[in-house]
Amino acid sequence: MKATLRRLAERAGAEGLLDVAYASVDSPFGPLLLAATPRGLVRVNLPNYDAEEALEELAAKVSPRVLEAPAKFERARRELDLYFEGKLTEFDLPIDWQLTRGFRGKVQRAIKRIPYGQTRTYAEMARGAGNERAVRAAGTACGSNPIPIVVPCHRVLRSGGGLGGYGGGLAMKEDLLRLEGAL
């Protein structure tokens, strides 16, 4: 049955019927759920958030044609492995930004450009997105980042040195910053 299902995912992809492919990928923090559309990575679900719920959200917001297709994530898996080993400093994966819009989208695209091992503050992100008073909104934009790790919202901290928040838990944010040598 496994081979049959793999073949089905392949054929669905070839016939344009695979709108959201997903796979579970191991990480030092637990399993990550990766989801991609034909355009690119659309969601990274951290281990502390229910994977079933994440899939239901994708079905509702992107398309119900959601299929498990690990073969589509070989490159992402390789890059993430290297990243967690400290051997990769920039992800080279196509991104589908459709789950983020407006001001938040602007902030999240800017987060993608923060270099490895560096940090920014929520205030700097707000200013960069064209509204320096929208610090709280910039915080929300980081918190609602659908593609954490690859879009490195862990590199955004509070002004004055506080860590701020993180969807995957503050311990994970700290570990990621330490891995990158930013702490």
């Binding site: 049959t4 089905l8 669905a12 695979l18």
Partner: protein, 151 residues
């Protein structure tokens, strides 16, 4: 609609079983692929998630019938052939299937779901998107016509 993967997780084994019974082990794989590709194609426009099992089984039966139509003359393998010797050979399955395949779509689906998948009238109705009375009527008309065709 739930993520399509949950339909596979919950019903793939049963659909494969039904198809093996209907077209044989060797051909079931192809019919399985056709069934789920057709389901995927139609899925975003489906507006009733209350009987996804019945919906999938209806598609599977349609694919089995299509298969029998194109392979009308080939002998049909049957899952679990009876071990007991029989004096009067059972009527060949492919004759029945050919006759079922010739029924109008609603009757065909009703017959296949009732006798192939053992679904009750209420579930057949849900799968066909009609009332239980209409499902019963389609089934009745289908059987009547099969009796006449196969007599």
């Amino acid at each position: 609609m739930p993520p399509f993967q949950t339909l596979l997780d919950e019903h793939a084994t049963e659909v494969m079983g039904v198809l093996r019974g209907a077209v044989g082990r060797a051909e079931a794989e192809d019919c399985f692929q056709e069934t789920f590709l057709a389901a995927l194609r139609a899925y975003p426009k489906l507006n009733d998630a209350s009987n996804l099992r019945g919906w999938l089984l209806t598609i599977a039966h349609r694919k089995a019938i299509d298969h029998h139509r194109t392979n009308g003359r080939k002998p049909v393998p049957v899952a679990d052939p009876p071990e007991v010797p029989v004096e009067d050979p059972e009527p060949a399955d492919d004759r029945i299937w050919t006759a079922v395949g010739a029924l109008p779509p609603k009757q065909r689906a009703a017959v296949a779901l009732r006798y192939g998948s053992d679904l009750p009238h209420t579930e057949i109705a849900a799968a066909l998107g009609c009332s239980p009375a209409a499902a019963r009527r389609s089934l009745h008309e289908g059987i009547k016509r099969l009796r006449k065709d196969l007599a």
